[in-house]
């Protein structure tokens, strides 16, 4: 036992001799973990959105990007609302309202995020809701909401949300990313409720419309033109965009923005392992004479290896675990993936390097 402590103490002395290299390894591990963690999440979010919307994109969806013009006098022609509610009832459109809900009632839904979905095909954009094809008015609570039930007076209905959604329930928006519904209150309304909503909710519903052009009963060109003219009278210029074209393009842009961080970080990680490998070599070269003498005086190979392993452990595993654990503690979700990447790589490199070092020592001693 005393010998073991002696060996470990000697290993720590070796660490202090190569302090600069070990601090460099630690700092670089931290930098790599940080830069990957900051950037990978935007790419994975887009990739999840791309995967979520696969079924929706098969329906040739058209969504709108909006320009709000304050200089146009607003007349609020209701024909856009009529067109939207007929299309929703036919099942060739999906619409949702995720902001500006019941602005007059500040305590609506206990101030949780609310999502209103409408249309027969809501299963394309909202995932995890029980029987999504039905347009019966109803409401659900997100998986992480503490309330047992919430009363929701909206658009002439008095709904009570008491059923919790499964935790994988999520929602796809062409204007944002795929979003989890764990902290949302979800309300399903029939298309006819659209005309009873207030002005802000109607504006959001018009803006968030997705028309499905692959459906046999899809919106006619004349109706689409009328819809856009009517939206112009609400002070919005809605420009149709093809989701099947624009979403992969958005993904490409996100990748172009983040790849300059992710790939150089991974390259730096490989260089760090290279530095570690060279550190192991230096150690064997410097310590070989001493190890050989001790071997001649009866030390076993096992007891000699303890010192080397202590050194390698302190010079790679600790500098890798410390910064990634610190970052993961600060912001759990963001740095979990890069932490796992770094730790698995570290373990593999540590094992390989230890084995090769031990082999070199064994060969040169005997």
């Amino acid at each position: 036992m005393r010998q073991l402590f002696h060996e470990i103490r000697n290993g720590i002395t070796l660490v202090t001799r190569h302090f600069v290299q070990i601090i460099t390894i630690m700092l670089l591990m931290g930098l790599v973990c940080f830069s990957i963690g900051m950037n990978l999440s935007t790419v994975t979010d887009k990739a999840i959105a791309l995967k979520q919307s696969q079924e929706l994109r098969a329906h040739d969806p058209v969504y709108f990007s909006a320009y709000y013009d304050n200089s146009v006098p607003k007349t609020q022609d209701q024909s856009a609302i009529h067109i939207l509610s007929t299309e929703l009832a036919k099942g060739s459109a999906v619409s949702y309202v995720n902001t500006n809900i019941e602005l007059s009632n500040k305590d609506f839904a206990n101030r949780h995020h609310v999502l209103i979905v409408m249309g027969k095909k809501t299963n394309l954009a909202v995932f995890g809701i029980p029987n999504p094809q039905s347009t019966k008015p109803r409401a659900y609570l997100g998986a992480d909401l503490p309330e047992k039930s919430i009363d929701l007076p909206i658009a002439g209905y008095h709904l009570t949300a008491s059923q919790h959604l499964p935790s994988h329930a999520s929602f796809f928006s062409p204007h944002g990313f795929g979003e989890s519904l764990a902290h949302h209150v979800v309300i399903v309304l029939p298309p006819s409720a659209l005309s009873r909503m207030d002005e802000q909710e109607k504006t959001r519903a018009l803006f968030n419309t997705i028309f499905l052009m692959k459906e046999p009963s899809h919106i006619s060109d004349d109706d689409l033109s009328l819809f856009l003219h009517s939206c112009y009278s609400w002070g919005m210029s809605l420009v149709p965009q093809n989701l099947s074209v624009s979403l992969p393009e958005q993904f490409r842009k996100v990748v172009a923005l983040t790849i300059s961080y992710v790939v150089p970080s991974l390259a730096l990680l490989i260089l760090v392992f290279f530095l570690f490998f060279s550190l192991g070599k230096t150690l064997v070269r410097e310590e070989l004479t001493e190890l050989r003498i001790r071997y001649f005086f009866g030390a076993t190979l096992g007891s000699l290896s303890i010192r080397v392993i202590t050194f390698l452990l302190l010079s790679l595993v600790v500098p890798a675990v410390l910064p990634s654990a610190l970052l993961a503690y600060q912001a759990q979700q963001q740095f979990a993936i890069p932490g796992i990447i770094i730790l698995t790589f570290t373990l593999v490199v540590f094992l390989v390097c230890t084995l090769t070092t031990m082999r070199t020592i064994k060969r040169s001693i005997s």
């Binding site: 304050n70 393009e249 790849i259 300059s260 961080y261 390259a267 290279f274 490998f277 060279s278 070599k281």
Partner: protein, 331 residues
């Protein structure tokens, strides 16, 4: 074998990081190029925020001031291009080109053109009414292809500068003369718009706006540090062999030269491989549009990285030999 591998590995990684530096620089250059919205030569950018619904009286005043602006631009031969930011105003671009040197030379004041490939073009071809035009504009004169920086955006039509549509968003004027800019700003202020000149692109601004350049630069500097540390450890092993060469009259300089020359093919091949690996990643993920400029930068980065790695090898061997000589002399 593995001694050659160490130099090649560091060359490969280093050239890969430099290739990403080249990519981020090329992206920044494209961004700066796109800011001019197609105006060649010197230009100034103005940001014009959207104003609230003007009264009828204000509207007449605005129309008057904008026509005065157009006359002033015609007199001084200044090109004016403005594009709305997403979410404000109408999906339009407003241009006036008295010099007839840009893509917008076809658009005369009060004329309106649909943008190639937009929904408005489809409507115009089917002779349907356009839902984006304000009531004061009734006809579309034709179709136009805008500058590359304005393509792929949801813009619908281009309007020649007159009083009917106020320029909102970002405007570019083809002058840097402070007096002329001042006069244009005054005219826009009379038109109840409040323009703010945007800062000119300096190196500092570029580095602040494009953080990926900062990061890749930092990564390449750090990788030099790590490479030097690692190669130092690996090459130390070779020193006893090198010292033998001194018995046949080799100096530290000649030995280091010989070693780096010996490593040269491996280094340049791995630098080429690093740059090729960048192109391979691009083939899979399709993130960069390969153009001549980017290819030139990549070639340059490959060459620079091989030179730096060679220099590192030379300096490490040279300094270690000096240390070894000093040690033997002391003995």
């Amino acid at each position: 074998m593995h001694r050659k591998l160490t130099a090649s590995l560091s060359a490969f990684i280093f050239s890969l990081i430099l290739a990403f530096l080249a990519f981020s620089v090329s992206q920044a250059v494209t961004d700066i190029h796109n800011q001019s919205l197609g105006i060649r030569g010197e230009y100034t950018r103005l940001s014009i925020p959207q104003m609230d619904n003007p009264s009828l009286e204000r509207k007449q005043q605005q129309e008057k001031a904008l026509i005065a602006l157009q006359q002033y631009l015609a007199q001084e031969k200044i090109i004016f291009i403005s594009a709305t930011a997403e979410g404000e105003g109408s999906p339009s671009i407003i241009t006036y080109d008295p010099q007839s040197t840009t893509w917008a030379q076809k658009v005369k004041p009060s004329q309106t053109y649909a943008i190639e490939g937009s929904y408005s073009q489809q409507l115009w071809e089917k002779k349907q009414k356009n839902p984006y035009l304000p009531p004061s504009i009734s006809t579309i004169n034709g179709v136009i292809t805008p500058d590359a920086s304005l393509q792929g955006e949801p813009y619908q039509f281009i309007h020649g500068l007159d009083g009917k549509l106020p320029p909102v968003g970002q405007a570019v004027i083809s002058t840097q003369d402070p007096e002329k800019i001042q006069h244009i700003q005054e005219l826009l202020t009379q038109a109840t718009l409040h323009p703010q000149p945007l800062p000119r692109m300096t190196w500092k601004n570029v580095l602040i706006m494009h953080k990926e350049i900062d990061f890749t630069l930092l990564a390449s500097l750090l990788s030099i540090v790590v490479c030097v540390m690692a190669l130092n450890g690996v090459l130390e092993e070779l020193i006893p062999e090198f010292v033998i060469h001194t018995y046949s009259g080799g100096t530290a300089f000649s030995i280091a030269c010989k070693y780096s020359r010996h490593q040269f093919p491996a280094v340049i091949i791995s630098c080429g491989a690093g740059t090729a690996f960048f192109l391979l990643i691009n083939c899979v993920l399709q993130f960069a549009h390969i153009n001549q400029f980017l290819l030139g930068l990549l070639l340059l980065s490959g060459l620079v990285s091989s030179i730096i790695v060679e220099l590192m090898l030379f300096l490490i061997v040279f300094s270690q030999l000096h240390v070894a000589f000093a040690a033997t002399r002391n003995k």
